[in-house]
């Protein structure tokens, strides 16, 4: 994996809006932005109602993903270009999710919706009509997905990268500072985790930093490239962004996203939790 396989810039996107076998997809948790104007021709994916199982706390299953992509008019041989708000958090999550179900031709629009808007590029309210496909997914590739027992066993042995803000890491806050603090679970972080906020991997306009800057960032924070890495945040979307930087841009080979993240870990009975800045 490298930058040109995983990322497209806004100029490229603008020139390829009508390219054959190319589908633009806007992904958000709150899709009102899409409804108010989106990249011309883009279809929408709702992170909460379409990518999460409505009952169990998990993803939609393989059959559910096949049904979803078929209904969106996305075919197995289409190149999917993902973008969204929140600095591409949910688009990066969807990217990881598409890879998890074996869709290889997927790319992220660098800067997402923010850069597109700030550049003053065209937005459209027309809903594209795409004909139904019969999409076939693969079994989940769990080489990129970490589960809780693996995370507990990774304490002190693998790189654990907590990509939340320092106040969430230390236990002062349970959610990012722009959200109400309603969660009931304990605050803090997984012992031995490094705190490398996702935002350090991004520029102000939402684009990713250069490979050199990213490599220096993780090195300076103490990431040991010879060990496997597990990234986590609160619900797994910001850590998808950092997973993307590490696995897709820098080409680190063994990097997993722990989508259970702090909402799961901080609610488990009996697991160790550390508070403070972790730099004792």
């Amino acid at each position: 994996m490298s930058r040109q396989d995983a990322l497209v810039d806004a100029d490229w996107a603008e020139q390829n809006l009508d390219a054959p076998n190319t589908v633009f997809v806007e992904v958000d948790e709150d899709t009102t932005a899409y409804d108010g104007g989106h990249i011309p021709g883009a279809v929408k994916l709702d992170w909460r109602t379409e990518l999460q199982d409505p009952v169990r706390r998990d993803f939609v299953d393989k059959a559910g993903f096949e049904k979803l992509l078929s209904s969106k008019g996305i075919a197995n041989d289409d190149t999917v270009i993902l973008y969204g708000g929140n600095n591409n958090w949910f688009a990066a999550y969807a990217y990881w999710y598409f890879k998890l179900y074996g869709h290889q031709a997927v790319k992220l629009l660098d800067g997402g919706r923010k850069k597109w808007e700030l550049d003053g590029r065209k937005l459209d309210t027309e809903i594209p009509q795409r004909s139904q496909t019969s999409y076939t997914a693969q079994e989940q590739d769990t080489s990129i997905r970490a589960f809780r027992d693996e995370v507990v066993n990774a304490i002190g042995s693998k790189n654990l990268v907590d990509v939340r803000s320092p106040d969430e890491f230390s236990g002062k806050l349970l959610a990012p500072a722009h959200l109400p603090q309603e969660q009931a679970q304990r605050g803090g972080h997984i012992p031995s985790a490094l705190n490398v906020p996702w935002s350090k991997a991004a520029n102000e306009d939402g684009t990713f930093k250069s490979d050199d800057e990213l490599r220096k960032l993780y090195e300076a924070e103490g990431l040991d490239s010879s060990r496997p890495t597990i990234a986590y945040c609160r619900i797994g979307e910001r850590s998808s962004h950092s997973w993307f930087a590490l696995h897709e841009l820098l080409g680190e080979t063994d990097v997993k996203n722990y989508d259970g993240s702090w909402t799961e870990y901080g609610s488990l009975i009996g697991v160790p939790i550390e508070t403070g800045d972790g730099k004792a």
Partner: protein, 99 residues
């Protein structure tokens, strides 16, 4: 919920100003509100903490811990920033002018 909630001048139901520090404000250009700006909350070292999209009337809101913060706005009308000191629980207001 993890995406930015709708930004309104009125606080959401359940906000407890006897316990929380809430920072609210408006993005303006030449005295008029600027809607849809990207508003970033930076800590005292300039490090990113949170980001919201201002409402159509330029309003934004953060749940900030007490301390000194920079609020920085990016918009098609230009960028701008301002510093604000947030104290113990209560409501704190400021304004970011972009040009």
């Amino acid at each position: 919920m993890c995406s930015a909630p709708e930004q309104t001048a009125e606080l959401p139901e359940g906000t407890d100003l006897s316990k929380e520090s809430v920072l609210v404000g408006k993005v303006t250009a030449d005295g008029s509100p600027v809607g849809g700006a990207y508003v970033r909350l930076l800590d005292r070292t300039g490090e990113f903490t949170a980001e919201v999209v201002a409402s159509a009337t330029g309003d934004y809101r953060f749940y900030a811990a007490p301390g000194t913060w920079t609020v920085r706005a990016l918009s098609r009308s230009g960028n701008g920033q301002t510093e604000v000191a947030v104290g113990g629980p209560g409501l704190f207001t400021n304004e970011v002018r972009v040009a």
